[in-house]
Symmetry: C2
Subunit: 258 residues, 2 copies
């Protein structure tokens, strides 16, 4: 690439989260960076978009930094749509989302605002990567994650990605020297066993907090869960064609039309 690539950076933990600040540092070393990110945390937002409400964008002054930044009242998917349609003067060469504070491996991809931003970019035909670190701590150490984010981003910019595929990258909570490498994986079959914490308001009304225990149902050694549990960075190619193509033939035997 002769000129510097244009890189859109977003996330779901909000524009001030340490994870996105780390990702911006990395991307400034690679290209020209524009940040459009939620003004507050959006975890668990899935692929939500804002239809029944208005959206605000605020340009942030950040004199000491190279990147342009905008804070948005919407969801991660809204940020990508606004960036492409209202802010960027040309199509970005890449969209990166994260670095998320916490895992987006296996079934978590479904609930992930981080990945919804990457998927939204993918739908628009823009190469996209979501990065997540397996550490929920606000003050997590992002050094290893930054190293691998840079490495993977450079490879993707050099080679591009298959059509309609975005990457879900998860980084284990280990120091760089203890990480064994990068593995391309499939999404593990897992789910959450919910345990609702039922409480009473001071007025005596019941309410619930959603909590739960993550259960990996998948013993395969080609999954993201296996890779992460064994000290590897996991890279799962993600698609937004949700068709279960393998089941079409069976469904046609049911004669739904009879």
């Amino acid at each position: 690439m002769s000129k510097r690539p244009l890189i859109l950076v977003t996330n779901d933990d909000g524009i001030n989260a340490p994870g996105i600040r780390s990702l911006i540092q990395v991307m400034n070393e690679i290209g020209d960076v524009v940040v459009v990110a939620p003004d507050s945390a959006q975890s668990g937002m899935g692929h939500a978009i804002t239809i029944n409400s208005t959206l605000h964008l605020d340009k942030i002054s950040n004199d000491s930094e190279k990147q342009q930044e905008y804070s948005c009242t919407g969801t991660p998917a809204d940020c990508v749509k606004l960036a492409i349609n209202e802010i960027l003067e040309r199509r970005p060469d890449l969209c990166v989302s994260g670095i998320n504070h916490g895992s987006n491996s296996s079934i978590n991809v479904i609930y992930s605002g981080t990945m919804s931003a990457a998927i939204e970019a993918g739908i628009e035909g823009i190469p996209a990567i979501g990065f997540s670190l397996l550490d929920y701590n606000y003050n997590a150490d992002f050094e290893a994650a930054k190293y691998f984010a840079k490495k993977i981003t450079k490879t993707v910019l050099k080679n591009s990605l298959p059509k309609d595929v975005v990457l879900n990258v998860n980084i284990p909570k280990l120091s760089k020297k203890d990480i064994k490498g990068i593995k391309v994986c499939r999404q593990a079959r897992a789910n959450w066993q919910e345990e609702f914490d039922k409480r009473k308001t001071p007025q005596g009304r019941d309410y619930y907090w959603l909590t739960g225990k993550f259960v990996n149902l998948d013993k395969g050694q080609d999954t993201d869960e296996w890779a992460l549990n064994n000290g590897f960075v996991s890279v799962v190619p993600i698609q937004f064609d949700l068709t279960a193509h393998h089941s079409i033939q069976y469904l046609n035997t049911l004669n739904l039309d009879d």
Copy 2:
């Protein structure tokens, strides 16, 4: 099935929407019905879950009806989690979501609260179907949709569904006699060309409304868009393994680890 099936009904347009009232009528003819649905419209919520806030459930009195009903302050996915973990005394035999006021065909499945409820049930191992009518009108005619919802539900209860597959059913805005039949389809490749409507608040601050134009990029005659445009009900099998398995081999040629 010797005893009547237990059917969980939910939606994303809210518990009072005509679409879910139509679906409840149909399901009461087939099984024992428990309704757990959002207390207000949740369109565009994608697969959002409520992590950073509390959830309330209210039992609704509905003396004239057979079903039990609960209204929930959360998202469609929250409703399914609460129903399974806190309300139902046994696992439901089926979860149905809808009937949505408006299409959830092709890429809309990604943004759909209706389908997120069905997918959430699928992750829990419960057969699930989302129904949507291609009519946004609050006072839409649900008669044809009810007919096809009943037909498809009975077939699914009789035959079950492949493991980890849920159905996305869309019904064209036509009278029953003008609908040509039911087609099993794949999800069309489509997207939205956003057109943000930029306005100023009375105080002079910019804000945006998200609007857009749906663009079908897919000329295939095996897609849901083709079926719907040609007078058929579309049935797309949906999976929540988002892995782009076909691209793993290519990604391994990139030597991400070097």
